[in-house]
C-alpha cells in the first residue's frame, strides 16, 4: 500500500474507517525514514519507541470512537521545539546533550490532538541560515536533487515532507524559514501572523519575528495542522488572545472577485527569469479562477534585508546569552576561571554563522551604536509595515515569488553570508511586519520546484489557505514527487 502518496486528510479517513491502524501507519513511515533518510539527513532524532507508544494510544482512542482529525497521524517536529525526554538540539553542538525538562506548547497541542511524533528534524543551527548547511549534524539534501540544498532554516522539515518520510511537519519562520524551504522542496508551508502560535518551548532566535507554522503536502493539510497549533497561550506573553477559527472551513469558497496585488519590487532585478515566468503563469491561472490583478508598490521593501540583519542579530545576541555552560548545554573542558568557562563554552558550542550574528547583535546594541542601528531598524520596520497597510487597502492578498532562485548547490553560498542572506529578499518583509505568508508549489525551473508566495493581512490565514486550496484544486504541482522516493 503506497500510504506515502496520501495526504493527511486522506490518511485521517483511513484511520477513522479502520482501513489501517495508527501503529501500522507509524511503522510504515518509520520504515521509509530508515530506508531513505541516510541520504537526506533530514532527521536528527528518530523517536521510534515514543512514536509506537503514541500510536498504540491513538488506536485505543480511535477504537473508542473519540478520534479527531489528527488522531493517530504521524508528524515530525523541527528540532527547535522542546520535547520532554527526547533530545532537542536546535541543530547545535551547544545543545547536543540537551534533554528538555518540558514540552513546547506546540508539542503539547499535537499530543493533545492525538498525533504521533516520528522524530525531530534537522535545521540550520538555532534557525540561522537559508540552506540547512549551518547544522551541527551536517547539511540536509534536497530530495529533488541531493546535490542541492533544501533551503532553511526548516530544511529537514521541508525535505522530509517532500520525500514523504512524514505526511507533514512543523517549522518556524523568522525571516522565511518555513516558506523558502517549502518553495525549494516543492511543498506547502504557512507562516502565520506573529502571535498566532505560541512560542513557549520554541527555542528563541529573534523574539519579535519568530513564528511557528505547518509544512505539508496541501493547503488543506496545512489548515488541519494549524487548527491544532494555533491559539492563545498564557505562557507566551506575545501570543494573541483571539479566537481560533476552523482553518479548513473556508477552503471551498470560490475566488471570484479576489483582488491580487503584484508588487513590482518582487519582480525586478535579482529574480531568475524562469522563476518569474512560472509565477506569472500562476497569476494567470488565478485570473481564470475569477481573480482580479492589481499592480501595487511596496517602496521600502528593499530595506527589509538591511533592517532584518540588525533586528534579528540584536535579538539573537540577547536570547543566546542564556547559553553560558552553567545550567544546561555544552560546557568546555577544564575552565580556568568563570570568564574562560563562558567564552570557551560559547566559542566551542556555537558554529561560525551563529557567532557572526551574535557579534553583529552585540555590536549593534553596544553603547553609542543603539540609535544608529537598532532604533533605526525599528523605524525602517515601521515604514515596511506601513507599505503593507497601504497595499491591503486595495487588495486581498499579495503574490510573488517565495525565493528569487530554485535550490542552489550545497556549498555554493556557504562562504558568502551576504549571498545567503539574499535568498530571503521576498520573505523577510512579512516577518518584519508580522504578517502571515504561504508558499505553494507552482511549477519547475530546471527540474527544481518553484514556490508561489501568497501574503495576507493580519490573521487572514483562512483566506490564504482558501486561495492556495483553490489553486491546488486546479493544478497538480503539489502532487509531484521526487522520483527516487516514490
Amino acid at each position: 500500500m503506497s500510504l506515502h502518496t496520501k495526504n493527511l486528510a486522506e490518511l485521517s479517513d483511513k484511520l477513522k474507517n479502520k482501513n489501517i491502524s495508527s501503529v501500522e501507519l507509524t511503522q510504515y513511515f518509520l520504515d521509509r525514514i530508515e530506508k531513505f533518510d541516510g541520504d537526506l539527513n533530514s532527521f536528527v532524532t528518530v523517536a521510534k519507541d515514543h512514536a509506537l507508544t503514541q500510536a498504540r494510544k491513538a488506536d485505543e482512542v480511535i477504537a473508542s470512537g473519540k478520534a479527531g482529525p489528527l488522531t493517530g497521524i504521524p508528524i515530525a517536529q523541527k528540532d527547535i521545539f522542546c520535547t520532554q525526554g527526547i533530545k532537542t538540539s536546535c541543530g547545535s553542538k551547544m545543545l547536543d546533550n540537551f534533554i528538555s525538562p518540558y514540552d513546547a506548547t506546540v508539542v503539547e497541542k499535537f499530543n493533545d490532538a492525538g498525533a504521533v511524533m516520528l522524530g525531530k528534524l534537522n535545521m540550520d543551527e538555532f534557525a540561522m541560515g537559508s540552506s540547512n548547511e549551518t547544522s551541527f549534524y551536517g547539511p540536509v539534501s534536497n530530495p529533488w536533487n541531493t546535490k542541492c540544498v533544501p533551503g532553511g532554516s526548516s530544511g529537514g522539515s521541508a525535505a522530509s515532507v517532500a520525500a514523504r518520510l512524514t505526511p507533514a511537519s512543523t517549522g518556524t519562520d523568522t525571516g522565511g524559514s518555513i516558506r523558502q524551504p517549502a518553495s525549494l522542496c516543492g511543498i506547502t508551508g504557512l507562516k502565520p501572523t506573529y502571535g498566532r502560535v505560541s512560542r513557549y518551548g520554541m527555542i528563541a532566535f529573534a523574539s519579535s519575528l519568530d513564528q511557528a507554522g505547518p509544512i505539508a503536502q496541501t493547503a488543506q493539510d496545512a489548515g488541519l495542522m494549524l487548527n491544532a497549533m494555533a491559539g492563545f497561550d498564557p505562557k507566551d506573553s506575545t501570543s494573541v488572545d483571539k479566537e481560533v477559527p476552523d482553518y479548513t472551513a473556508d477552503l471551498g469558497e470560490n475566488l471570484k472577485g479576489l483582488k491580487i496585488g503584484l508588487p513590482k519590487e518582487y519582480f525586478g532585478e535579482g529574480l531568475d527569469s524562469v522563476v518569474g515566468d512560472i509565477i506569472n503563469s500562476a497569476v494567470e491561472q488565478y485570473k481564470q479562477l475569477g481573480a482580479e490583478v492589481i499592480d501595487i508598490e511596496l517602496p521600502n521593501s528593499g530595506l527589509s534585508v538591511p533592517a532584518y540583519y540588525v533586528v534579528a542579530p540584536a535579538e539573537c545576541s540577547s536570547n543566546l546569552s542564556r547559553f553560558d555552560g552553567v545550567r544546561f548545554g555544552y560546557r568546555c573542558e577544564n575552565p580556568k576561571d568563570l570568564e574562560d568557562l563562558y567564552k570557551r563554552s560559547r566559542g566551542e558550542g556555537f558554529g561560525p554563522e551563529v557567532k557572526r550574528r551574535i557579534m553583529i547583535g552585540a555590536y549593534a546594541l553596544s553603547a553609542g551604536y543603539y540609535d544608529a542601528y537598532y532604533l533605526k531598524a525599528q523605524k525602517v520596520r515601521h515604514l515596511i509595515s506601513d507599505d503593507f497597510k497601504q497595499a491591503f487597502k486595495k487588495v486581498d492578498v499579495i503574490m510573488g515569488p517565495t525565493s528569487p532562485n530554485v535550490a542552489f548547490n550545497i556549498g555554493e553560498r556557504s562562504d558568502d553570508p551576504i549571498a545567503m542572506y539574499l535568498s530571503d529578499i521576498y520573505t523577510i518583509a512579512t516577518n518584519l511586519a508580522g504578517l502571515p505568508g504561504m508558499s505553494v508549489p507552482a511549477g519547475f525551473a530546471n527540474d527544481m520546484p518553484v514556490g508561489l508566495q501568497i501574503i495576507g493581512n493580519y490573521f487572514a490565514e483562512s483566506r490564504l489557505l482558501n486561495v492556495a486550496h483553490q489553486y491546488q484544486l486546479n493544478t497538480d504541482w503539489h502532487k509531484q514527487m521526487p522520483e527516487n522516493y516514490r
Binding site: N97, F98, I99, P101, T193, Y194, G195, S237, T238, G302, L303, V305, P306, A307, Y309, V310, S317, S321, G325, V326, R327, F328, G329, Y330, R331, P335, D337, L338, E339, K343, R344, R346, G347, E348, P352, K355, R356, M359, I360, G361, A362, Y363, A364, S366, L375, K376, A377, Q378, K379, V380, H382, L383, S385, P417, I418, Y421, L432, A433, G434, L435
Partner: protein, 95 residues
C-alpha cells in the same frame, strides 16, 4: 563600516565568545560586509517615523501576582553540566 581585528576582538569579548586568532580576519571581513549591507538603511528618511516595537501594537500583558509554578529544581538540574547539593557549580570566583 569596516571593522579591523581589534574591533572583532572587542566585540567577541563583549559577547563572551572565544574566537580563534586564525579566524579573526575572516570574521572582520564578513562582519564588515554585513554592516555595509545594514547601512543601506541610512538611505531611508526616518526622522518623523516612530520605532515599531510590536507588529500588532500590543502592550505587555500582565498576569495576577500569584504563584503558578512549583519548584522543580532537581528535575531542571538533571541535565546541568555540574551540580552539587542543589547548586550549579562554576570555577571559583571569590578568593
Amino acid at each position: 563600516m569596516s571593522l579591523d581585528s581589534d574591533d572583532v576582538k572587542k566585540i567577541a569579548n563583549l559577547a563572551r565568545l572565544q574566537i580563534d586568532e586564525a579566524d579573526i580576519p575572516d570574521y572582520a571581513k564578513n562582519l564588515s560586509n554585513i554592516l555595509d549591507l545594514v547601512e543601506q538603511m541610512d538611505a531611508a528618511d526616518t526622522d518623523k517615523v516612530s520605532p515599531m516595537a510590536h507588529p500588532l501594537d500590543a502592550v505587555q500583558r500582565l498576569r495576577p501576582d500569584a504563584v503558578t509554578e512549583e519548584n522543580q529544581r532537581e528535575h531542571f538540574q538533571e541535565h546541568a553540566p555540574k551540580v552539587e547539593d542543589g547548586l550549579y557549580l562554576v570555577p571559583q570566583v571569590i578568593e
